[in-house]
């Protein structure tokens, strides 16, 4: 048992640092550092740089073009990336669509879809939630009617992250109405340029646009876009959700947020001294840091399990719950740290549109928006209450 990096891991970390130092565009790093909202082009530029190096799909096995890293290497890559202000790699292609396609897809599907994910030339989105199917995802009602060589899809998806950026959507649809709700679901890949698709934005309270409603009106989806077997889509979706929960611990990003909180609280003054040296505020920060430290070790324990060939299982729900709670608390303290400057509402600055100057100090400009945005963390990806249900049922067998 060893917490420090061994020589090999250290060399790997150095290689990652060096690559990021020499390849990350400065304008993108600046936006990340300021917690500004990134555009499609920002994400794609960085992901394509990673794609050329073979690192965009860093968690993929070598046979599908991944770098063949072990879980510790992947973990180090994420932590260092966040530490050096890299954008988060959007998970919809490399973390979600990709693993489902290479695990359950046909050879044709792999050849057709995996290269675009590896190179990050195609943006994917996730068509899961529906207006009447939030936490109760399996009750979804978007219909896919069998029309011989294609499905005719009708329905509505909601909370679809970055559907307005997306070229393709992986989508859960109902192909059978009888039996248990889980049994009649199929997993379809849908071209977002298909006739009959309409994307409507959902604006969020902090002034950004990342979620959408997607209307599907008589959309023709060729049969070859079905993943695996018809009516068996739920098992592929579950496979994916479990992976998503491990990612949702987002240790690297949260550690970076903790560093940013400390930096901001060091710049803010309270009674002539840095706010971070106010014993009460310092204590609030350190209490969260202690929780984050425990979470990091828990995540590493889970990764060690994964490394020895076990599936992450319901313990992943624990990481999602605590990862989001801790990240939310850090964003709350960051917002608290900037005092009155938590009040100005400047979505233009948040989106980095034009030359809008922040009302207060630059470090304060996005703190409150970020706090508002992060309230979504305990709701998305299966609300934290759903995660508790999962642990109660599958782990505690209550």
């Amino acid at each position: 048992m060893e917490f420090r990096l061994n020589q090999e891991q250290q060399a790997f970390a150095d290689e990652v640092r060096e690559f990021i130092r020499t390849h990350l565009p400065a304008d993108i790093a600046r936006k990340v550092r300021r917690d500004q909202h990134l555009s499609r082009d920002d994400y794609m530029r960085w992901q394509q740089i990673l794609g050329q190096k073979g690192w965009h799909t860093f968690n993929w096995p070598e046979e599908y073009g991944g770098p063949g890293w072990n879980v510790i290497q992947s973990y180090l890559f994420e932590v260092i990336s966040a530490e050096m202000d890299c954008p988060i790699i959007q998970p919809f292609g490399p973390r979600m669509a990709g693993p489902v396609i290479y695990t359950f897809g046909t050879e044709e599907q792999k050849d057709r879809f995996l290269p675009g994910i590896r190179d990050s030339t195609v943006w994917w989105c996730q068509g899961y939630s529906e207006p009447q199917s939030g936490s109760d995802l399996a009750s979804l009602s978007t219909q896919a009617e069998d029309r011989g060589d294609h499905y005719l899809v009708n329905g509505q998806k909601i909370w679809t992250s970055y559907a307005h950026y997306a070229d393709w959507m992986f989508c859960l649809v109902r192909t059978r109405g009888d039996g248990r709700p889980q049994e009649g679901i199929s997993f379809l890949l849908i071209d977002m340029n298909s006739p009959g698709i309409e994307v409507q934005p959902i604006l969020m309270m902090e002034g950004t646009h990342s979620f959408n409603t997607v209307f599907l009106d008589n959309v023709k989806v060729p049969k070859e876009n079905l993943i695996g077997e018809q009516d068996k889509g739920w098992s592929y979706a579950k496979f994916l959700l479990e992976h998503e929960r491990v990612d949702n611990a987002a240790i690297g990003v949260t550690k970076a947020a903790m560093r940013r909180l400390k930096a901001i609280a060091s710049q803010e003054r309270s009674d002539e001294r840095p706010l971070l040296e106010d014993p009460l505020f310092h204590a609030r920060v350190i209490e969260v840091e202690a929780q984050l430290q425990a979470l990091e070790v828990t995540a590493l324990r889970v990764l060690s399990q994964v490394a020895s060939g076990q599936a992450p299982g319901p313990v992943a729900s624990l990481l999602k719950i605590r990862g989001t709670e801790i990240a939310q608390r850090i964003s709350e303290l960051t917002s608290q740290a900037v005092g009155h400057y938590a009040l100005p509402f400047q979505p233009g600055y948040l989106r980095d549109e034009g030359a809008e100057e922040p009302v207060g100090p630059a470090h304060a400009a996005t703190a409150a928006n970020n706090y508002l945005w992060r309230r979504s963390m305990s709701i998305y990806g299966g609300s934290n209450e759903i995660q508790r249900n999962i642990i109660a049922k599958h782990m505690l067998e209550l």
Binding site: A283, A294, R322, L398
Partner: protein, 379 residues
């Protein structure tokens, strides 16, 4: 970076689990608690034979050459067992002697200690000092013909059993000066020692000691005179690593007991565990259990950190987190057991008392938050 136990550690874990299963049924523990001796000499001998008493000491000092992580494995088992044996005081005293002792001192004390023949404790707290390590009014006067100890120590954990106590005393400087602290080895039978033994809430017991002109030979000095503070700080951090693992064991025992109770106790015609309000509380206990285990591992691993400021900060962080998770699980376990949870009869209340005692020893959460602020100021 590798958080897997080694093969040897895996074997040690199994051995500890077996030992706990065989010897620590709760009624047996309660019998030992009631019989006046405080703990089982037979079990102590077995622990000595298994090599656990000096597991982390170097081989040349009679140990097994393990790490703090090995000690932590034993502590976790003892936490699960709610053991009464004075293992922690023994570890703290033996590590101080191994780190600071002359060859003669090591030869004299570590052998008998490893064999379970010699009981030791460390006296480092005083009534006015709260958790402050350098607040020491007990004085050590050094003369040509030896030393004289004057003053008193409070809440010496395991001190009631100790044949020999490592006492922190001031050989120079003001009461609160960080310089001038020394360690001396004090024999139980020396003239001038007054002791007051008392029971503690967790059943482990402690002693207050008063020294009036206690004469010590020059050979009783442990380590360099006046420079003991960094070593006392190391000992405190080691104690935190140990109780963090002990807490991890106790917390997992409480989670297991509560889970079984929720499954088996029936009200309104169904198990308690069928209620979502209780399920979610059980899940939060389970989460806290995993967090306790994780931060205890972190604490044990960070004991290998060579930079003392980084080590102190890490162990304080450990104590802060343990204070939160252990308190949460202990309080919830009692609540979910209903009225049985607050009885003397059920083990749950006894785990509660031990976890509460852990939070109040070696610095509480607030003290460690201040200590982290000091560390951050130094860096």
């Amino acid at each position: 970076m590798d958080l897997n136990y080694s093969e040897e550690q895996q074997m040690l874990r199994e051995s500890v689990e077996r030992f706990v299963r065989q010897h620590y049924a709760f009624p047996d523990r309660q019998k030992r608690l009631a019989d006046g001796r405080g703990f089982s000499r037979e079990l102590w001998q077995q622990m000595a034979e298994l090599g656990w008493l000096t597991i982390s000491l170097p081989e040349e000092d009679g140990g097994i050459g393990g790490s703090v992580a090995d000690t932590a494995i034993v502590m976790e088992g003892l936490g699960q067992a709610l053991a009464l044996e004075p293992y922690l005081p023994t570890v703290l005293a033996s590590v101080l002697i191994a780190r600071l002792g002359t060859d003669e001192q090591k030869a004299r004390y570590l052998g008998p200690l490893a064999e379970g023949q010699l009981q030791m404790a460390v006296a480092f707290t005083e009534p006015q000092a709260r958790y402050q390590l350098d607040d020491c009014a007990t004085r050590l006067e050094v003369r040509d013909d030896g030393m004289v100890l004057e003053g008193g120590k409070s809440l010496v954990l395991g001190g009631q059993h100790a044949d020999m106590t490592v006492v922190v005393a001031r050989s120079s400087g003001d009461r609160k000066s960080p310089d001038g602290l020394s360690l001396v080895l004090v024999d139980r039978e020396l003239p001038g020692i007054e002791r007051r033994d008392y029971q503690t809430n967790d059943g482990l017991g402690a002693v207050d000691m008063h020294f009036s002109s206690v004469r010590l030979p020059a050979s009783a000095l442990l380590g360099p005179r006046g420079e003991a503070l960094p070593e006392i700080e190391y000992m405190l951090d080691l104690a935190i690593a140990c109780v963090a693992s002990e807490a991890a064991g106790a917390v997992s025992a409480l989670c297991q007991a509560t889970l079984e109770y929720l499954r088996n106790r029936t009200q309104f015609g169904r198990p308690l565990g069928a209620n979502q309000a209780l399920q979610h509380r059980m899940v939060d206990m389970f989460i806290a259990q995993e967090e306790t285990r994780s931060i205890a591992l972190y604490g044990a691993m960070m004991m290998e950190e060579p930079d003392p400021v980084a080590r102190k900060r890490a162990l304080s962080l450990t104590k802060v987190e343990i204070a939160r998770t252990a308190r949460h699980v202990a309080q919830e376990a009692v609540q979910l057991h209903g009225a049985m949870g607050v009885t003397e009869e059920l083990s749950v209340g006894h785990y509660f008392k031990r976890l509460t005692a852990i939070n109040a020893t070696f610095g509480d959460s607030d003290w460690h938050l201040h200590r982290i602020a000091q560390c951050d100021h130094q860096q």
